[in-house]
Symmetry: C3
Subunit: 113 residues, 3 copies
């Protein structure tokens, strides 16, 4: 299993959730985060401070899924969340060693499907 973590623009969250659901991905976790990215013209020190590097509100989506569906979900996120403006966000992929559905005690792949 893998975890896909996407940091996206908050205004894209609803569309992404709908698109994921229509592909059968009903379980996901959402966190309100703040982020800084690489921005042209912003450096670490500006007018003596670096407060100029803005921290912007973002939404983090976490989705644990069977490995073979990873590329499908990455494509859904890119298609749904890109605007071609800077700040569209990032996707990170991690390995997941085990999963448990607490109600049924199922483990592994059956616990995430």
């Amino acid at each position: 299993m893998k975890k896909i973590e996407a940091i996206i623009r908050p205004e894209k969250f609803q569309a992404l959730r709908d698109e994921l659901a229509s592909h059968g991905f009903l379980g996901l976790t959402v966190t309100e985060v703040a982020g800084t990215g690489k921005q042209k013209g912003q450096t670490g020190v500006f007018r003596g401070t670096s407060y100029e590097i803005k921290v912007l509100p973002k939404i983090k989506i976490e989705l644990v899924l069977p490995q073979e569906r990873t590329d499908e979900v990455i494509d859904i996120i890119i298609d749904t969340c890109h605007t071609d403006q800077i700040g569209d966000g990032k996707i990170f992929v991690y390995d997941v060693e085990d999963a448990v559905r607490i109600r049924t005690k199922e483990r592994g792949k059956p616990a995430v499907l």
Copy 2:
């Protein structure tokens, strides 16, 4: 070392924290998240929209621990957090490559114990 990440019902948090502490797990990180899970009768498209897939408040617990105590903690979480109703939550297990206690600069297992 491993990280156990559990997404649980908020009303179970206090009992879980107490139970973990009584087993010697004093360090953990808590995040307020929102989640969607698989629900019978809810699909991606309903009355033309998918807004019917509810996003519910959940608590995410993160606990980094020595590998050999992973199953002990999974059992504690299942025992403390199950109600046998849908929505009891999920547990995910990840590998952790290194850990550092910032105050002492200890690394690896001594940093998480």
Copy 3:
């Protein structure tokens, strides 16, 4: 690629962000979390309950970066965030299997630089 996750004192966040930016680390994700750590004199059961284990506000920083810069960032975090008082925080290191910049569809290392 690796992910460095640091749980730090909120009052250290601005200094850490500035220091990371001055080393070229402009992209990072910040989450408001709460945490409990190991505290001398606090045990799981106290006056019949364990409510005495305080949950304190902390800031979680997540930074995905090329593997070869991991130790550099760990040193920056230790230097910037230690006060030698208990509660200075923790750093955890995870493997990251892939990264995507949503705007450009770049993958792997070019997506995090």
